[in-house]
Symmetry: D2
Subunit: 406 residues, 4 copies
Amino acid sequence: MALREETEQETGTPPPTATLGVGMVGYAFMGAAHSQGWRTAGHVFDMPVRPVLAAICGRDRTAVEAAAARHGWAAAETDWRALIARDDVQLVDICTPGDSHAEIAIAALEAGKHVLCEKPLANTVAEAEAMAQAAERAAARGQVAIVGFNYRKVPALTHARAMIEEGRLGRLRHVRATYLQDWLVDPESPLTWRLERERAGSGALGDLGAHIVDLAQYLAGEPLVGVSAVSETFVRERPVPAGAAAGLPGAADGTARGAVTVDDATLFTGRLASGALASFEATRMAAGRKNALRLEINGERGSIAFDLERLNELSFHDHTEPPTSAGFRRILVTEPQHPYLEAWWPPGHGLGYEHTFVHQARDVVRTIVEGRAPVPSFADGLQVQRVLAAVEESAAKNSVHTPVPF
Amino acid sequence: MALREETEQETGTPPPTATLGVGMVGYAFMGAAHSQGWRTAGHVFDMPVRPVLAAICGRDRTAVEAAAARHGWAAAETDWRALIARDDVQLVDICTPGDSHAEIAIAALEAGKHVLCEKPLANTVAEAEAMAQAAERAAARGQVAIVGFNYRKVPALTHARAMIEEGRLGRLRHVRATYLQDWLVDPESPLTWRLERERAGSGALGDLGAHIVDLAQYLAGEPLVGVSAVSETFVRERPVPAGAAAGLPGAADGTARGAVTVDDATLFTGRLASGALASFEATRMAAGRKNALRLEINGERGSIAFDLERLNELSFHDHTEPPTSAGFRRILVTEPQHPYLEAWWPPGHGLGYEHTFVHQARDVVRTIVEGRAPVPSFADGLQVQRVLAAVEESAAKNSVHTPVPF
Amino acid sequence: MALREETEQETGTPPPTATLGVGMVGYAFMGAAHSQGWRTAGHVFDMPVRPVLAAICGRDRTAVEAAAARHGWAAAETDWRALIARDDVQLVDICTPGDSHAEIAIAALEAGKHVLCEKPLANTVAEAEAMAQAAERAAARGQVAIVGFNYRKVPALTHARAMIEEGRLGRLRHVRATYLQDWLVDPESPLTWRLERERAGSGALGDLGAHIVDLAQYLAGEPLVGVSAVSETFVRERPVPAGAAAGLPGAADGTARGAVTVDDATLFTGRLASGALASFEATRMAAGRKNALRLEINGERGSIAFDLERLNELSFHDHTEPPTSAGFRRILVTEPQHPYLEAWWPPGHGLGYEHTFVHQARDVVRTIVEGRAPVPSFADGLQVQRVLAAVEESAAKNSVHTPVPF
Amino acid sequence: MALREETEQETGTPPPTATLGVGMVGYAFMGAAHSQGWRTAGHVFDMPVRPVLAAICGRDRTAVEAAAARHGWAAAETDWRALIARDDVQLVDICTPGDSHAEIAIAALEAGKHVLCEKPLANTVAEAEAMAQAAERAAARGQVAIVGFNYRKVPALTHARAMIEEGRLGRLRHVRATYLQDWLVDPESPLTWRLERERAGSGALGDLGAHIVDLAQYLAGEPLVGVSAVSETFVRERPVPAGAAAGLPGAADGTARGAVTVDDATLFTGRLASGALASFEATRMAAGRKNALRLEINGERGSIAFDLERLNELSFHDHTEPPTSAGFRRILVTEPQHPYLEAWWPPGHGLGYEHTFVHQARDVVRTIVEGRAPVPSFADGLQVQRVLAAVEESAAKNSVHTPVPF
């Protein structure tokens, strides 16, 4: 214990008795992260209703029941339609691969449920458009549809958005964003569904690029209007895991290989509506970079910089300071006045990755109860999808500058 | 979502049906942190029994019931003796100020309960000795008594200990440790129980110094044998909060002031058993340092460095490398092979402060169920107390080198 | 004094009596930096001949004589043709703006002199081609022509090249390079010759982009084969300084403005011959970034990273290390075994920007005396010019991928 | 070339014709560094007189003549008394080991010469007192005596002093300073004069500790009034180099070993006159730390931090900022408005270690010509010596707090 201030009186108010039943589809890593968010939010934040982990859904009965027990869900389903149909489920949380998002989300919205859907919203623009239309219809009925761009909930980034909105950076000139990982550096790393276009939609672009496109636009407060892209699959064949190799040449002796059908890395430049220039790089081949979502934004009055590997910190340069004392300062975004921090620990006692899901859970619940406009909405998710599609189109057309429709 | 690998099969095993009932005394910030640990451990780690948040105890009925509801405890008590007596409580978790640790811990042990006690173990060596003796008697009956030096559970520090144990640093020469905070920089910051010797035992020394003494000895694997200290209370009077000012001069007009009876800052040097030199600084007056628990250890074969404000990172210099390629490397301690990480998120998706309490909960449960020797034990807590007492003695005796009894 | 080792014997050998007469054209900042290099090299390094600062040339008699006295040149000339003609000048060092490089360099080479020419080699590919041809003819006569890409002489980058050549990074996947400055952020910053296409050739692209293109290719050991670019002039009119405003509207009242005819910022992506992807950003509008030439190269076996604002450091990640101990290490490139460091100070006693010119002077002299092939040659400078031209072409053609001729 | 602004007019003024003849005693590494300072200052700064490298002195005729040629000195002497007697020498620069400082400096002052003497001023307080008295007598005759605490001339530290003087930190609370090197980690590193008490006076204390004591007092603007110390020689015997082993056991077969008679490491705490607490650590056994002179000063209104391994940077925390935007900022001390920087390169184009000697040369010359009080004076050097003596006394007396006389 090394806390700063405490009294027995500081226990927060008791949680409310009203509840919101959550049903989650998918229970792999994203499911674990969302579960942690739903379990924790009500114990930390003052919430208008208490989220209840009503039911979880997966295809394998044994596995889904184990997951329910492990992650604290009251019931297990093996058919997502049954999950949607449950009376104790008011919100459907979709954590499956992208190819099933549209079908589940639209069905849930049409069944009158609120929806939280993992990013990217869908694998295609057409699916995303259908989803956004369903969300609009549902909004008219008072339902909420939110896309899970959880990194907006990193306090340092929420705070950065507030600073930019206040004008601390002035007119924006540059946005540069990378999302670098290294789990595909080894050419013998196996082929998984994430490397198959049919399931995953795209590779680094949809998985990592979607985050930095969303964050760049969220922070800047304006959309990308055009992009120019280059994309590459450095390792075009990878070993097929034993369980999935049946029928392939080499299956018998464990040497089966399959084609990688998504990008290992995609780079693109772009222009924001205001004329600011932007650059993006998403890759799974940057040896030593584990989760290097890095952002820098330069404006006429200041700059900010951020690195997800140090997520409690925001760098800020105030260009209105005298030159002798100006410099990038490292703000530890752990003060009680910082976003979300009023409910957590004393200054300097940092948060982690999973807290973004706790914050997301809080925000989803408040949006529903308070009847606020959903943020980020399915329309926001669709717009990101359009950027990704323009990126793919440009990469296919010799990098030519490709407008993003709106 | 930006994960690396996942399959629906990776859901972990379901939690066990056997349970361990936890009763917690105190429900301020430490209580919130411990609650988070107890609530979460069973959902994340494979655990031999499942911790149950049986009952929480505080003096004020309304407040403790609110805390129980907020933090997820099944029942509330207002008398710690009643808590200890409950049949559904097998482990008593003590989160109160230091002046009550001895009485509660000894009573709980004598009642046959396991005990987890916040640090510092006690406010005096005498109390700590009585506690260590009680723990020894209880151990003979199969009970566990553990002191809550939670920072040993930061994966980077657990990993650092493993590296030192393996000999990666060789013979140790230097340990330097600081724990810098800044919440008392403002001379108008109010007087709280933490600034009263009677309640808190000491100031920066017991609150912050206890952590770095424990960590230095834990990492080095050897005790301090003597110390030389200097201590200071820079601001000797502070405003008394309105609620506590009754009867004091100035109470009527809000200008009541009271004496600060603990140290604002304590510095000391010391020698470890092997002859290595050590230096320590604990302060609440280092403007801009929020939670700067910094450690560096230099040995004949290498060095490590750590900063709690960047708790997912460990710096390591391998002195056996050729000089042209040697340098402090920043290890992101987030790989599945790192301590505790097998159960958390993909590489680079960092943890936060509160995870130390989840890890502590896991380790306490495993120690109980597997019948292992408790670590850190009450004897370890007593030994830290003896170091703190030697520090105070040296500071009172003109900094003369003062041996630490063993 | 805090040195490590010294004896009176360690005084180095005395300098040679043979000399090399240097004549420098231009005496602004680059002239000052080159002067420092020529003055110092012979006092620090063991050199086969001693450089002599024979004569300096500028158009204004008074100014050039002051510069000669200030920077230690024996004579002053006002006509570069006279400088070239001097018997005591064996090497002509060209530090003028880019529009005069070709004429001076070709004349000097044809007069039988060695040439060191500041980068970028020229303002156009045609000029650069003529220069490279002249250099080739001169080489046949034993003359040396070198282009002043001085950042190759930063020890950390020379060392990085050696590591990549040794295979420490394996097959390369990514190169990312930025060169960020901020001296044009203020829209009222005045119009200078650097913002006029006629004098400067281009803006951020030629000034900053040329450096990172050269370094990327030098470090990777392979050329860029194509690029896709976007370019912008954010502030299209700037105040004309009083001295240059004569005849312009507003000259009388100091409100004269003139057009900026070069780029404020240029971004481009590219492919290296091996298939590695690259990204580049050169800008003078990145508030708070003073000299942020940053490079990162990722390969299958490791990665390196560098920042010119911390030029004594090289970051290196060895991907062949076990994951538990791998991480980017900060190599202080100040060991006697590091390039150029045998002649400087003890470890950790860092060098600065100007040392690149001392190293360049040493290397130019050794190249001449030892009859080695010049590096970087005018052919290297021409190839960089071709990359820059392809960048401009792509930016003009809607970012379409544009091959770099070879 | 990547400069910001330049015109041919910016050539500075020509150097003056008046000169100051310098005679230097000693020509090892410190001699090389001082030579670089004397050679360069007049070419960079506007100076009232031009320093001339008149003569250099060493015991070995061949070696000193080589050194003279190498470092640019006009003449060589083998007797320091002859050097002092030279008419062309007005300033004697003493770069010998500490045991000869007093004799040479006093003789030079009595001969009417100005003196610059390397730190530490002497090996004993008695010698330092005699030197300070000689300096006082000489001052009455218009002579200058300065001690070479060159790190005061690092622009970041000069700037830090200015900020503290302006009150940017408010009332000071803490000073912490380390000077960590690692060249003695290897127990087989040989015995040199630096490890012999007779020549060197002390070990890490005098070599490294003297710097941080001087800097702490310089930055704080107040003296240490007492200290408590611990000191250690970890490796008590080391190999004697072949050349020096004659007559020792083992000389024949190269296994001769000799006693280390100085400290490998010394740590101490202290109090400044204002009551602020300070801690110091000087060591040559910190593996991986090459030149880690690190300083942090915390005050009521702000804090500064510095690391000599990144000497172009100053960290500054402004505690009067709102908590949401406060944080340590990294000031690149390379702006033209920063101390000494008006004469150097554009922002972000950093300086190195040797520039401290250029700045020192400039300041010594200006002090002499402008008749200013010498800073740091021999009295300042004596006071540092008294602190070091108090440290040694405390270490010998069981760390008891020992006052520093004044």
